[in-house]
């Protein structure tokens, strides 16, 4: 097992694999990263290699299968996601987020300024671009028949989700980002 995974503690005893909300959250954070950056999915495999996590993440197909454990996905896999794989995705997410710290901060500042002036997202190119790409990714990959996905047909709600994920990505960039994200994945799951 790669040593880097040991930076994340084992969750409470009795948890063998990743809870549903955690699988969904990890996939959505990666989706937000892809919306930030055109080369997001390529970078994902590259970072896995940089962090020596290839043995856990495997190739592109295996990565797709891991992300498809998100229950909202069109081709959602019913198989569980192991803790080892979840740890790897957590580390990769935080690593990718840290590389894009500047972009994330810019977009969040822009959002705040637009809010203060009560302007729509279209007034900032970067933000509109991110939201548009996230919307396209979300609709093309998530199962439109799921009730949770139907709720996001409202663009307003989907924008809120995208911005919320952007907020969360910012917190992933911090010193304790990976540990905090990892702990948050099991919120409400431990007894």
């Amino acid at each position: 097992m790669p040593v880097v995974l040991n930076t994340l503690p084992e969750p409470a005893r009795g948890i063998q694999d990743c809870p549903k909300r955690a699988r969904q959250q990890l996939d959505l954070l990666l989706l937000a990263i892809e919306a930030l950056d055109l080369s997001g999915s390529e970078a994902l495999l590259q970072v896995a290699a940089d962090l020596n996590l290839q043995s856990v993440i495997g190739d592109r197909v295996n990565l797709w299968r891991l992300r498809s454990t998100n229950p909202l996905r069109r081709n959602s896999q019913r198989q569980p996601m192991g803790l080892k794989e979840a740890k790897a995705l957590t580390l990769i997410t935080c690593h990718l987020a840290r590389r894009r710290t500047g972009t994330i901060r810019q977009l969040l500042l822009a959002h705040q300024q637009l809010q203060d002036k009560q302007l729509s997202f279209d007034h900032n190119f970067g933000l509109a671009h991110y939201l548009g790409r996230f919307q396209a990714h979300f609709h093309s990959r998530m199962n439109p028949k799921r009730a949770a996905v139907i709720a996001y047909r409202d663009p307003e709600k989907l924008h809120t989700l995208a911005l919320d994920l952007l907020n969360q990505l910012l917190f992933c960039t911090g010193t304790a980002g990976p540990q905090r994200l990892w702990a948050s994945l099991f919120d409400g799951e431990v007894s």
Binding site: Q112, L163, N167, A176, R180, S184, D187, V190, S191
Partner: protein, 410 residues
């Protein structure tokens, strides 16, 4: 020697002042273990947040807890009363700091908090500002040379504390739904009759006899009225010596019909077509001359507990067949089978019998049954009763089968 440490982020500067409690440390960066003053400057706010050890511990704990809640969208109350954070919106957060009492070590007098000691200080933060505050705290915690006793317990929120954040009304809903569902089911089931246990008879009746049986039974059921035990235990062939007046009987038969049908007796379906049988016929069938006074046998067949041991029933069948066969030589006057319902005690002694079809009634005195019937002992009806269907063929053959069939194999 006073040590000062700075943690600078674009929107937040955290300054910790204190000294090392250990013996003079000669290293370049001695451990700051005692905090005397802590300041937190937030961009856009002129006055820094100030406090001592309690302030910096409360800030670290609250910011950490809140940041984790942002990541999981599962908020959790910080246990710290001195520093609180509330979410105002997607991008807005409110930091509330209670003034630090007595722990400020002289830094307080010139601060705003000391000027209004009872007023909590409220600051509105954007997400980026909050992140910088969180990052400054994280760097402070990660710094092993400053406040080494400050650790952040990064742990997941327990299921229990998540549940407790739902309002009581919402938590009660599932229980209330379950209870009311149970009540509704109980009310609905109250109107359903309890299911009856009715062993199926293996031997099929000849069609002609069945019709007569049904008519006789109907008359009996009407006469007996709502006696559930009689209905359930021997619904097929009750004789009704009381039935004397066909005119009075006829409407009651009609009234009983639906009931017999609803009990789903196999013969029940034939009752309705038969209800147009001549009243005289019913009267003739229902007034047997031999057994008119023998209502105790009816009672016995109805009320006695049946045998339940399959082996015992088989043995009694054999025994009964053997004893009757020895005496039965057949009858020449008819070519119909004589069918009787015979009751025995546990030892196989016949305690009573009843003719089932009219031929059986006519030739009852020519059968060995009367001779074999024991005088009922005083305690009759206390023990279980074996009931058998005895068919005497005119040719002299005897067939015996259990009246209620054989109990299912274990």
């Amino acid at each position: 020697m006073t040590i000062q440490r700075h943690y600078d982020l674009p929107n937040c500067r955290l300054i910790i002042e204190g000294w090392s409690s250990d013996a003079p440390d000669t290293s370049d960066r001695p451990v700051l273990s005692m905090v005397t003053n802590a300041e937190c400057h937030i961009a856009g706010h002129a006055h820094p947040l100030k406090g001592g050890k309690a302030f910096i511990h409360g800030l670290a704990q609250t910011v950490n807890t809140y940041a984790q809640g942002l990541l999981s969208n599962i908020p959790r109350d910080s246990a710290n009363a001195g520093v609180r954070l509330n979410r105002l919106g997607l991008n807005r957060h409110q930091l509330i700091v209670q003034p630090d009492g007595g722990d400020t070590n002289g830094a307080a007098p010139d601060s705003q908090a000391a000027a209004k000691p009872t007023e909590p200080l409220e600051i509105e933060l954007t997400t980026v500002q909050l992140f910088d505050l969180s990052e400054a705290v994280d760097q402070l915690v990660a710094d092993t040379q400053t406040l080494p006793d400050l650790v952040l317990p990064l742990s997941s929120v327990s299921r229990r504390s998540v549940v407790s954040q739902e309002p009581l009304a919402q938590r009660v809903i599932p229980a209330a739904l379950g209870a009311s569902g149970l009540a509704a089911a109980a009310i609905a089931l109250f109107f359903l009759p309890p299911p009856e246990f009715r062993p199926t008879e293996t031997e099929a009746n000849p069609a002609g006899e069945e019709q007569i049986d049904s008519v006789v039974e109907t008359g009996d059921a009407a006469a007996d009225g709502p006696d559930p035990s009689a209905d359930s235990s021997s619904p097929e062939t009750q004789e009704a010596p009381e039935v004397q007046e066909p005119e009075a009987q006829q409407p009651e038969i009609q009234e009983i019909d639906p009931q017999t049908e609803s009990r789903a007796i196999p013969e029940g379906s034939e009752v309705s077509p038969d209800s147009d049988i001549e009243p005289e016929e019913i009267a003739r069938e229902a007034t047997p001359s031999v057994l008119a006074d023998d209502s105790t046998i009816d009672e016995l067949f109805t009320n006695a507990a049946p045998l339940s041991d399959g082996d015992q029933i088989s043995a009694l069948v054999l025994q009964l067949q053997r004893s009757i066969s020895q005496e039965w030589e057949g009858v020449a006057e008819t070519d119909e089978s004589l069918i009787y319902r015979v009751g025995t005690d546990e030892d196989g002694a016949i305690v009573g019998f009843k003719p089932v079809n009219d031929v059986a009634l006519d030739y009852a005195d020519q059968t060995p049954l009367l001779a074999l019937t024991q005088t009922p002992p005083a305690g009759l009806g206390q023990g279980p009763l074996g009931q058998f269907r005895v068919v005497l063929q005119p040719s002299g053959v005897v067939e015996v089968s259990p009246w209620y069939g054989r109990p299912p194999e274990e």
